[in-house]
């Protein structure tokens, strides 16, 4: 756990706010074929196979996998089973599209934020965090 709260600046991919524990993945996961209809990691080759992404701020280095991931994420958002937010180190059009469509259809907003690789390394699995936005200024608060 971090001794003192710290704030990491980010770049807005999609809008929204979140306050939830961090789930930091050792490897990226594909939403299509990698995350099941119950919000669990179903990719048997993934080191965190079985972990639940629902309601967590999901942290992974990059997006991954099939372009149908947008559909799967939108469906998770519709069901209320999606992550609370997503932190990446580079923008990903596929997950972004899923979040944009769910915002249009259901007003279900999942913030997707890009942080620098150095800041990414400071994020610890399991700690409480929140995402706030003021226009394009995004902050990830840790601890």
């Amino acid at each position: 756990m971090s001794e003192t709260p710290s704030a990491i600046p980010g770049w807005r991919v999609t809008s929204g706010t979140a306050a939830a524990p961090i789930l930091k993945l050792d490897e990226p996961v594909s939403f299509w074929g990698g995350i099941g209809a119950k919000g669990d990691i179903i990719d048997v080759h993934h080191p965190q196979h079985g972990a639940i992404v629902t309601g967590r701020i999901l942290v992974m280095r990059t997006g991954k996998g099939s372009s149908s991931g947008a559909y799967v994420l939108a469906e998770l958002l519709r069901e209320g089973l999606a992550p609370a937010g997503l932190i990446l180190t580079e923008p990903d059009g596929i997950v972004a599209t899923g979040a944009l469509v769910a915002a249009e259809l259901y007003d279900a907003r999942m913030p997707i934020v890009v942080v620098s690789p150095a800041d990414y390394d400071r994020i610890e699995d399991g700690i409480d965090a929140s995402i706030t936005m003021d226009g394009d200024d995004v902050t990830l608060h840790l601890g």
Partner: protein, 425 residues
């Protein structure tokens, strides 16, 4: 570097062309901002992938566009759906989940028809009458269609997927980023195949295995093949691309002396000189094929051909392999997936009826690895597709062998899995 819109595009975004255009434009422009595009590009055609059913959200989105009066404004083809509309009984509806997918899949396909899409239902739109030319900007989804259009046709599409595809079709616009741009289309690494023997290069299964390796090595970069025959068929290039887009995220490859942007190695590399070179050997091909082939049992339950959808030439090759030979073994199913237009051509050529009599089940509009077609209890399937071999174990819970067409047919007639593990020499 901000996204700049023309006056016309701003009007579309502001709703002056109706609410469906405005909604679609919000998605296109937001993706453009996220991808760092400076402008949008007009696209000449769209291929839709969002018509496979994974739940209510996709149906809600397509129906919302229908309700808002949305219509595609460029020629738009559709990928496979979750249902064979021609042979609906092929889709299993034994479980509640299967019933839900069958009904939702049908409704989703109808919504895309209502939006003005051509009822192509194929993952191989490049096997149809009209196809894009060199340098033409398009917005295609479905990874094998993307890589074929970029690599073999020389058309330009970035990696589009569900939702952005129909948004591009309704606006005729896509962000001018990624593979729309010259500088993103050059080769990043060389796959040197010059040591492969003529016998290896003559095997059909060499090409999906090459693609599988290319995806593993290149990830999302653009590989350049050196040492493949100048007359490598489109079907073989299709097999390379589909496998490379499955094991990796390849959206463009070059074959020096064969594909349109690679008349020479220098042209393919766009002037770069220091790129990594990977040597592809027969031993490496053998081990890649063994890695993809998960089957441990002798008993064969099914053969699945046609991923991506079979061409007429591939149906002809399968015809030549099965007709006049031994009958299909009891208990073995033999599937060939293809599109409606290719199937109609195969019927005109008189190929279909004798093959059906022999025991082939033609699957149209969908594919055996995206929906419930395989009989319950199916454990071991042989396929000539690297893409099918990559996805089916996870999707369908079956074991696979990636095999030559002749190995598939021979095994189908004996009911026993037979393949040469050291085929490449």
């Amino acid at each position: 570097m901000a996204l700049t819109l023309t006056e016309h595009e701003q009007a579309m975004l502001a709703g002056e062309h109706g609410p469906a255009v405005a909604l679609s434009m919000r998605i296109v422009t937001e993706l453009g901002r996220i991808r760092g595009a400076e402008r949008l590009v007009d696209v000449e055609s769209v291929h839709i992938d969002g018509c496979i059913f994974y739940g209510q959200a996709g149906l809600d989105f397509a129906r919302k566009l229908v309700d808002l009066g949305g219509k595609v404004i460029v020629p738009t083809t559709v990928n496979v759906g979750s249902v064979d509309l021609i042979h609906p009984s092929l889709i299993l509806t034994n479980t509640e989940h299967e019933k839900w997918v069958a009904q939702g899949g049908r409704d989703l396909m109808q919504a895309y028809v209502d939006l003005g899409c051509r009822q192509t239902w194929t993952c191989a739109p490049y096997q149809m009458d009209s196809r894009p030319g060199v340098g033409e900007h398009i917005a295609w989804a479905e990874s094998n269609a993307i890589v074929f259009a970029n690599s073999v046709l020389g058309a330009r599409t970035d990696r589009y997927g569900d939702f952005i595809d129909i948004a591009a079709a309704i606006t005729g616009k896509a962000p001018c980023g990624g593979l729309h741009r010259d500088e993103e289309r050059h080769g990043d690494l060389i796959l040197d195949c010059t040591s492969l023997s003529e016998a290896t290069l003559a095997q059909d299964v060499t090409y999906p295995v090459l693609g599988y390796l290319a995806g593993e090595i290149a990830g999302t970069q653009n590989p350049v093949f050196v040492g493949l025959p100048a007359d490598t068929s489109e079907d073989r290039l299709k097999a390379i691309g589909a496998a490379a887009a499955s094991s990796g995220g390849v959206a463009l490859f070059h074959v020096v002396g064969r594909t349109p942007e690679a008349p020479t190695l220098e042209a393919a590399l766009g002037g770069r000189s220091e790129v990594p070179v990977h040597h592809i050997t027969a031993a490496r091909l053998n081990s890649a094929r063994q890695e993809l082939s998960t089957a441990r049992l002798d008993q064969l339950d099914a053969v699945s051909l046609g991923t991506p959808h079979a061409s007429v030439d591939e149906i002809q090759e399968a015809y030549d392999a099965v007709i006049g030979g031994p009958p299909l073994a009891d208990g073995v199913a033999f599937y060939i997936s293809t599109g409606r237009s290719v199937f109609a051509e195969a019927e005109r050529r008189g190929l279909v009826a004798p093959m059906e009599e022999w025991g082939v089940t033609f699957v149209l509009d969908t594919c055996t690895y995206v929906t419930s077609i395989l009989r319950p209890g199916t454990r071991t399937v042989m396929t000539n597709s690297g893409k099918w071999a990559h996805y089916a174990p996870g999707n369908m819970g079956v074991d696979v062998v990636l095999a030559t067409l002749s190995e598939c047919v021979e095994s189908a007639t004996t009911g026993r899995v037979t393949w040469n593990r050291e085929l490449f020499a």
